[in-house]
Structure formats: structure tokens, C-alpha cells
Amino acid sequence: MVDLWDGLTQAFWLVLTGDPELAEIALRSLYVTLTALAIACVIAFPLAAFLAVRRFRFRRLIIAILNALMGLPPVVVGLIVYVLLSRSGPLGVLGLLFTPTAMIIAQVIIIVPLIASIAHQSLRDLWQEYHDLLISMNVSQRQKMRTLIWDARRALLTAALAGFGRGIGEVGAIMIVGGNIDNVTRVLTTAIALETGKGAFALALALGFVLIALTIAINLTIHWLGQTEREGRW
């Protein structure tokens, strides 16, 4: 209990005094996760819409695989990305290992299946609702996908927020591909792991509370910007 209280107090002072190291780590966390989220949404939403409106061989198998990949172990993803980006790996020439870009790549791989699966469920339901109308209007496949994505935007926001939650709290993969290098790739989760390892529980807890506060703040902001609870007027 004492550690918890110390952690809360320390978190409060770290934020209040505008600790530069904390700010840098928190901003890097946000940069990595929000960038990964943006890229993942660009991939996952059209993929989910495509799977909702198109009927083709192995579609069900692909959906099943996508759902299974929601539980992709981050450490394994980190390991695979590490192998790919290491000097002897096929993408080693890019020199991305132990950079925020490598962390973004790992996070994209982890959160795309999650966002795409949740988005697919929403878009599939909406497609059942819209099917007859859009078919009767002779709408093209591309227009169908765009219509579904736009009209399901609130449900997709929830999918994106789930992806954000998974990304910002992720530690295994980004520890492997980022290396937790001070001033370069250290983010809140890897800093928490480091401080815990050093036995500095109060500081680790303080960083944890900052991470939680940041997550809640981002969620509330996105909900507010997306006007999720406004139903009467569109």
C-alpha cells in the first residue's frame, strides 16, 4: 500500500513539475502508438470492409485466421521483426532495428488483426442491413466499402481505441525491437519494466499511473472528437 501511495504521489509531482524525461518518454509512447494506430487503421478498415462485402473462396478461412491473430503473442512478433530487421536479416540494410520505426512496425503487426476483426464484425452487420439497398442502386464494390466504413465510423472508432489500448500497453515486442535505449526508444512501458527490474517500485508505479492517465485522456479525447454519444443529428 505504501508503494502504491508513493507511486501516486510521485506521479503527481512528476506531472506537476513537468519532468522533462517523463515528458519525452510519454511523447515517444504516444508518437509510436498513434503512428502505428494510424497505419493499422489504413490497413485494417479497408480489409474489414473487403471481407464484409466480397464473397470469394477461402474468405471464411481468412476471417478465422484474422480472429486467431488477435491473440498474437507480442514477444513472438517482436522476435520475428527483430530477425527481419537485424543486420543479417532481409531488411537489415534499412538499419531500422532499435529505432522507433521498428517499434511502430511491430505494433502495426500486433494491432492490425485486432482492429480488423472488431471492424469486420461491425461492418458485416451493417452490410446485412444495407445489402439490398446498395445492390439495387448498383453501387460499385469500392463505393460499398467506402459507404460501410463511413457509416460505421463510430463502431470503427471503438475498434481503433481497442487497438490503441493494445498498442500503448504493449511491452514485449517493442522491448525486443526497440531495445529500451535511453533518449532513443524508451517508452512508458519499457521504462516501467526497467524501473521494476531495478527495484524502484514507486517510480515504476508513477510511470504506470501516468500511462493510465494518458490512455484515459486519449480515449476521452477521441470519443469527444468522434461525438460517439450523439445520435439525434448526423
Binding site: L126, E129, Y130, D132, L133, I135, S136, M137, N138, V139, S140, Q143, T147, D151, A152, E231, G232, R233, W234
Partner: protein
């Protein structure tokens, strides 16, 4: 001009079961054709077949234009209107937007149509929150905004009250007077008498009797049609 339509031996099936057909029909380019018949007689399937949304398993459906061009000058109004999760005007403007009309023009026309169908005081309300009658009016505005040559309507007034039905019929009469060809199904014989120029009486998935509305209602040619008009149960 997409009419006349010549249907010869057309048939559609689902899981091997014939839903409608073989049907042969000739539809000229003016007025309103009303499809009537008992439940399960294939009214909805026939409309879908003519519109091209139901699969044609046998026979031919020959418009005066190639099918893709013919589809472009048609609209379909469903018994239970499908509302896009958008505002009233966004719903009405949708067919214009997917045809590539600039948004400003599409919205201006949509606002005009919202007023014409009596939704002018709620253009930015969420369409799914409208009442059943309002949703059907929106569906009509969305169907007519592209100035189609033919509009298919599948029981557009089912489950609406008398007032809403009268408002919908007024819109349909207005559009018919402006030259839009209507092909609709209904269970309401009063509505069929008010709107129809021509009747297609379906029974068991086949055209049992067809002809001018006045002739059909005054002197039906078949026993089944007579029984149906008398309100008897017709299988």
C-alpha cells in the same frame, strides 16, 4: 427510353425451389402496373427479377437498353425502408453522390426533395430515428431524386397508417403524372384501385391474369381473381 419491357419465360429460384416463373409479360412505358396476389405468390421476387436484383435462372428479360444502362434508370423502394446511418438529406443525396454529382449540387437537390416529400423541417435528423411513414417518404425521395424512368415499389405502404398511406400515394400519383413508370406490389386492393393502370395478378409464382385495372376490377376473367377480389382465401 428503357421501355417497353418484354419478359419471356423468366424464372428465379432459391435452393432449387421456383420462387416465380415461368413468367411472360409485356410492360409499356407509361402508367402504373400493380402486382397483386396472395402471400407467397412471388410478388417481391417478380419485382426483384424485373429490377435485376434477383437471379434470372431461365427465360429472358429484355429492356430497350443493355441491362447495365437499364439498371441506371431504375430505382427500388423496399417494403421496409433501408436507412443509411446518415441524416435525412445525406440519405436522399446518396444516389446522386455515387453517380459522381458534386456534393453541393447533390445536397441542394436533396434539400429540395426533402421539402417535396414533407421532410423539409427535419433535413439533418438521423434517418434511422424517423417514424415508419417518414422513413418511407425518405425512401421515395431517394428513389425519385435520380429522375428514374421506372421505379419498383414493394408494398411501400405496408404497416403504415391511413394518413401516411395517403401522403405516400400523393407522391406516387405526382410522379406518375410526371411520367415516371411505376411497378409496385400491394396487398391493399383500395390502393391498387387508386393507383393502378394495369394489374398483374400472381398466383403460385405465375401470372394468373393480367390486364387494364378497370377491366380487372370490374370483370375479372378467372375464378381465382374473382375469389381474391371477394376476399376469399386463395392459395
Amino acid at each position: 427510353m428503357v421501355f417497353p419491357l418484354q419478359v419471356t419465360g423468366a424464372e428465379t429460384r432459391r435452393r432449387g425451389k421456383v420462387l416465380v416463373g415461368p413468367v411472360s409479360l409485356h410492360l409499356a412505358g407509361v402508367g402504373a402496373t400493380v402486382v397483386i396476389g396472395p402471400n407467397g405468390s412471388g410478388k417481391t421476387s417478380l419485382l426483384g427479377l424485373l429490377h435485376g436484383t434477383a437471379r434470372l435462372h431461365a427465360g429472358t428479360i429484355a429492356w430497350q437498353l443493355p441491362m447495365d444502362q437499364a439498371r441506371a434508370v431504375q430505382s427500388f423502394v423496399f417494403q421496409r425502408p433501408v436507412m443509411l446511418r446518415r441524416s435525412v438529406v445525406d440519405n436522399i443525396a446518396y444516389p446522386l453522390l455515387i453517380r459522381g454529382l458534386p456534393k453541393a449540387k447533390a445536397m441542394a437537390q436533396a434539400l429540395d426533395w426533402a421539402k417535396r416529400v414533407g421532410l423539409g423541417d427535419m433535413p439533418y435528423r438521423a434517418a434511422p430515428s424517423l417514424s415508419g411513414g417518414e422513413q418511407q417518404k425518405l425512401a421515395l425521395a431517394r428513389a425519385f431524386i435520380t429522375a428514374p424512368q421506372v421505379v419498383f415499389l414493394d408494398e411501400p405502404c405496408a404497416s403504415l397508417d391511413g394518413r401516411a398511406t395517403a401522403e405516400i400515394e400523393a407522391i406516387l400519383q405526382d410522379q406518375k403524372a410526371q411520367g415516371t413508370r411505376l411497378v409496385m406490389s400491394t396487398h391493399d386492393m383500395g390502393q391498387a384501385r387508386r393507383l393502378a393502370d394495369e394489374i398483374v395478378f400472381l398466383r403460385g409464382g405465375q401470372v394468373h391474369e393480367t390486364g387494364p385495372a378497370a377491366q380487372f376490377f370490374d370483370a375479372p376473367q378467372t375464378d381465382a381473381a374473382r375469389a381474391f377480389l371477394n376476399g376469399d382465401i386463395v392459395e
